[in-house]
């Protein structure tokens, strides 16, 4: 059967999860296969090469590039101290010497005899990769990183901001429709991952930043508030690098949208548990969505990841509407007519018939639903 619909976001109370934790370049892995790690543990580290600083040595020395060789006091690969003499002319009988000193601590990458240009490299910058989730190291990729496995309750968000953080889950909303007020965020929310309902306002985010909240999970957010928060309009959905002091995971979309019941209930059932979350979103090549990972107890033999499969769209399948009208509502498929059908916008599309949670019977373009796996 044809599958002209979007694969839904995963929301599940138990999944075997594998996470690659890889260094940006080769380095040292600090753990071994079989080790149990906590989210905060550093599993690998490396030294990132420092910034390259071009330096026109021949120019500074006022000699032609091809003559540079005879005045050099250093060579490619040498370590440098700031102020160290790198080249010096002979002058007249030892007088009127011109010398050029290193502008930085670091090392010499290259000296070109053709252009007279030197490439200096600043000292290396240490980079660490943390485990991000509690789990077991199942594989060590030599000099690159590790693969960590665990069993978790797992929720994929649709859009997020800022990078990896963890904290205890705290329910602020009592229903998935509720809109949280800034006054509800107090000191008890510090370092927590707070769960809000259908919308978070700019003021709520500001208050959360002030209190020191670790993460916010919400059904929706207004684009206007997002722009106010970041100070710019997001043009292409590539996020995760925002420096806003907390992580935001949006589960449904933009505007006021009730959080899906199963997402809300799942979070509620894990109140007080530790969650690892990130807001990294990339809706282009190699799609990435924000994640909420809540590690649960498991036995070693339970760690068998199921093969990824595409959910099928059939009569009886639970779906979520992902575009107006009825955006955000959940329903069950009641029919899948094969023929192209004209919808209100006069577009001819493949549709499905569904009964929504509010009892309404509707027809929806198949492209405008997501399958919810149960």
């Amino acid at each position: 059967m044809a599958q002209a619909y979007s694969p839904g976001l995963t929301v599940t109370k138990s999944i075997v999860l594998k996470k690659d934790r890889i260094l940006p370049l080769k380095g040292k892995v600090l753990v071994k296969k079989g080790d149990k790690v906590k989210a905060e543990d550093v599993v690998a580290e490396t030294l990132l090469p420092g910034k390259v600083v071009p330096f026109n040595l021949a120019n500074k020395l006022s000699v032609p590039a091809e003559m540079l060789g005879q005045y050099l006091k250093v060579k490619a690969g040498d370590k440098l101290k700031k102020g160290q003499v790198m080249a010096e002319t002979n002058g007249f009988f030892g007088f009127f010497k011109t010398s050029v000193k290193s502008p930085l601590d670091g090392e010499i990458e290259n000296i070109s005899k053709l252009t007279g240009q030197m490439l200096l490299r600043e000292p290396k910058i240490p980079i660490q990769v943390k485990a991000f989730i509690d789990g077991i190291i199942v594989e060590v990729i030599k000099e690159e990183g590790v693969i960590i496995e665990n069993k978790s309750a797992y929720i994929q968000g649709i859009f997020g901001l800022s990078g990896e953080r963890s904290g205890e889950i705290k329910m602020l909303a009592s229903t998935p429709e509720e809109i949280i007020k800034p006054s509800q965020i107090d000191d008890t929310c510090k370092d927590k991952v707070i769960v809000c309902g259908s919308l978070i306002s700019y003021n709520v985010i500001k208050k959360a930043q002030k209190v020191g909240v670790s993460g916010i999970i919400s059904g929706g957010i207004d684009d206007k508030d997002l722009k106010k928060l970041l100070g710019y309009n997001i043009g292409v959905a590539i996020t995760g690098h925002e420096k806003i002091g907390l992580t935001i995971v949006i589960t449904e979309g933009f505007g006021m949208i009730k959080m899906a019941n199963n997402t809300f209930n799942l979070l509620k059932s894990f109140e007080g548990h530790k969650a690892s979350i990130h807001g990294i979103t990339q809706i282009r090549a190699g799609v990435m969505r924000p994640e909420i990972i809540i590690p649960i107890e498991f036995k070693k033999d339970e760690l068998k990841a199921e093969e990824a499969k595409m959910a099928t769209l059939e009569v009886g399948t639970t779906i979520r509407v992902i575009r107006q009208p009825n955006f955000g509502l959940i329903g069950k498929v009641t029919g899948l007519p094969e023929k192209l059908t004209k919808v209100e916008s006069e577009t001819m599309v493949r549709i499905l018939e569904a009964e929504l949670e509010n009892g309404k019977k509707v027809t929806i373009p198949r492209a405008n639903v997501e399958v919810i796996e149960e």
Partner: protein, 621 residues
């Protein structure tokens, strides 16, 4: 066996960043026709992470629809989870070809000595090969060297094209650029296990220096200089190398492509051989140039996709081809960037009703995060088409700035040039001499009414004088571009019969005047025998019926000071081509075309035009 076998059934797919589109081409009654089409979401996303799943889904849809069409359940295109290529008659298909822009397409960085000279030539070569140019690094681009190195390190392109220096010219600047690239030690975007491919197409005298500097650090390929002398470009060899590397390196790294590459096969000289996957824009460029050459016309084409908008043009007597990619203007992934680029005001100026601003902003962002959805509500369709006009307009501005004559050369000046005051480096895009404007891409090809495509093309591109308009019916130009590799006959036949849908012609006098004054005196002898005659005031639109393959004999006299191609105030007698929409007489003015700023003035005007264009159902206007 197989030697005399005719291609009877061909499947072609285009794996876009959002959707994988499949078409079935069949040999029916002595000619090739496109008979069935299907589509499915592209599956480079986790958890599937395998482009072939989307291909199988899109081809399964073809299979189902073909079975329905021919009422024959034995039709089978998929066998063992792959496309079934069979040399046996009536079984599977005879050939399968594909293009791809999934995974963000081909992303390149180019370098040149002078940004506006060799840099621009390198950019043209990369764009012509179907790439997105992430950045142009030039010796004179005003950034400090350390900034250039940082930039190269950050970008992680799929490959780098290095140009610079005419043959025998200075080697110093080229050497310096190579040192910068070497210092940045860039890593390829996909996969860290292979070296970054670098193509050198600059001064031949610097080849040894380049080998010395980059030979060990990168996968260096040396080819002919793409600007051997300032007066001439030689882009072919560099483009060919880009295509080879795209297949060998980039595609091979993308999820599932190794498998897909083993599927694309067709018979050449009776033998089933591999047909390389082409970057989508390169395939479109192929087909566009073919139309321009066969019909001896100037063509402007646009493909507005989810992530990017490509503009292709073939202008001047020499049929100079240009392509630009507006990497962040598109209708789904990049829709929010259209808003950021054009601004809310520019989008809303095309909307004939009031809308709550924050509702519109949220709608745009929701489309960005769920890029495969389609407008079900009429209002949302109108809004998407308003956004499309701005995306197209900005992509066209970028194209005009890029499609220019070669800079820096000594241009032979002829008497005509002296009068036209043409300078080296001026845009060669001339809307007055343009013959054919072709639109494609989802928002254009899937518009529920063809009249909407006409309106979007005219409002965004503002054609001048007399211009024919067409759309690529279901955006099969990419598939036909790659199909031409195995059968030019099949590609051109399908192109003429099924691909282009002629919408009609647009007549637009250039210049401006006060509203109410006569801008065009038109007399049209329509194919149904009726004669249309009107002195059309400035600021109006008329739509005349004139079907596909029909023409109307026209006498057109522009208003005082206006021009429709023969010069100011000059009358023209000609034949106007019809199409599925008809002939548009547009007296809203050009250079400038302007809309009232006040909503109370603009909305009634938009409604009037939209009614005349018959673009939307009455209830919304």
């Amino acid at each position: 066996m197989g030697n005399t076998q005719k291609l009877k059934r061909i499947i072609a797919t285009d794996c876009g960043s959002t959707t994988t589109k499949s078409i079935l081409i069949e040999y029916v009654d002595g000619e090739y026709r496109q008979t069935v089409r299907g589509e499915a979401p592209t599956t480079v996303e986790k958890p599937l992470n395998d482009v072939t799943r989307g291909v199988v889904n899109a081809v399964t849809e073809l299979e189902e629809l073909a079975r329905l069409k021919y009422n024959d359940n034995s039709i089978k295109f998929i066998k063992d989870e792959a496309i079934w290529l069979s040399e046996k008659d009536g079984e599977g298909v005879d050939a399968y070809v594909s293009t791809s822009s999934a995974g963000g397409g081909l992303q390149m960085m180019v370098t040149g000595v002078v940004a506006k000279m060799t840099g621009e030539s390198a950019e043209r070569a990369a764009l012509g090969a179907g790439a997105i140019v992430m950045d142009l690094i030039a010796s004179n681009d005003k950034r400090a060297n350390y900034e250039k190195i940082e930039r190269i390190r950050q970008l992680r392109p799929d490959m780098i094209l290095m140009a610079g220096g005419v043959d025998g010219g200075t080697t110093k600047h080229v050497a310096e650029l190579a040192e910068l690239v070497g210092a940045a030690d860039p890593k390829p975007r996909l996969g860290s296990s292979y070296k970054l491919p670098v193509i050198y197409a600059g001064n031949i005298a610097a080849q040894d220096i380049i080998k010395e500097t980059l030979g060990n650090k990168t996968d260096l390929i040396i080819t002919e200089n793409l600007r051997p002398i300032l007066e001439r470009e030689n882009l072919g060899p560099a483009r060919d190398k880009i295509h080879d590397l795209f297949m060998e390196h980039v595609m091979a790294q993308a999820p599932g492509y190794n498998k897909l590459m083993s599927w694309t096969k067709g018979p050449i000289n009776g033998k089933l051989v591999n047909i390389p996957i082409m970057p989508t824009p390169a395939a479109v460029g192929n087909i566009m140039q073919t139309i321009a050459k066969i019909n001896n016309i100037e063509v402007l084409g646009v493909d507005i996709g989810g992530a990017t908008t490509d503009v292709f043009s073939v202008f001047t007597e020499d049929k100079v081809f240009n392509r630009t990619v507006s990497a962040n203007l598109g209708m789904s992934y990049s829709i929010s960037n259209v808003l950021a680029t054009a601004g809310l005001k520019n989008i809303l100026r095309w909307v004939p009703f009031d809308i709550d601003e924050s509702e519109l902003l949220n709608m745009i962002k929701n489309k960005m995060i769920r890029p495969t959805t389609i407008p079900q509500k009429l209002e949302e369709l109108v809004l998407e088409q308003a956004i499309a006009k701005e995306a197209l307009r900005y992509a066209f501005i970028q194209h005009k700035e890029f499609a220019v004559g070669l800079k820096g050369g000594q241009k032979k000046r002829e008497i005509a040039d002296a009068f036209a005051q043409s300078v080296s480096g001026a845009s060669i895009v001339n809307m007055m001499s343009l013959d054919l404007l072709v639109g494609s891409g989802g928002v254009m090809s899937h518009a529920p009414r063809r009249n909407q495509s006409v309106m979007m093309l005219i409002d965004a591109f503002l054609p001048e004088g007399i211009t024919r308009l067409a759309v690529d019916s279901i955006f099969m130009m990419p598939q036909l571009g790659v199909l031409a590799e195995i059968s030019e006959k099949a590609a051109t036949e399908v192109f003429e019969k099924d691909c282009l849908i002629y919408l009609g012609s647009c007549v637009a006098p250039v210049g401006t005047m006060k509203p109410g004054k006569t801008a065009l005196i038109a007399k049209l002898e329509l194919p149904n025998g009726e004669v249309f005659e009107e002195s059309i005031p400035f600021g109006e639109v008329r739509l005349m019926p004139c079907g596909v393959g029909e023409t109307a004999k026209a006498t057109l006299k522009p208003g005082k000071g206006l021009d429709i191609g023969a010069g100011k105030n000059q009358e023209i007698s000609c034949e106007l081509h019809g199409g599925v929409v008809g002939i548009v007489l547009d007296t809203r003015g050009r250079r400038p075309f302007s809309l009232p700023v006040e909503t109370s003035e603009r909305v009634p005007l938009l409604k009037k035009w939209m009614k005349e264009f018959d673009v939307y159902p009455e209830e919304i206007l």
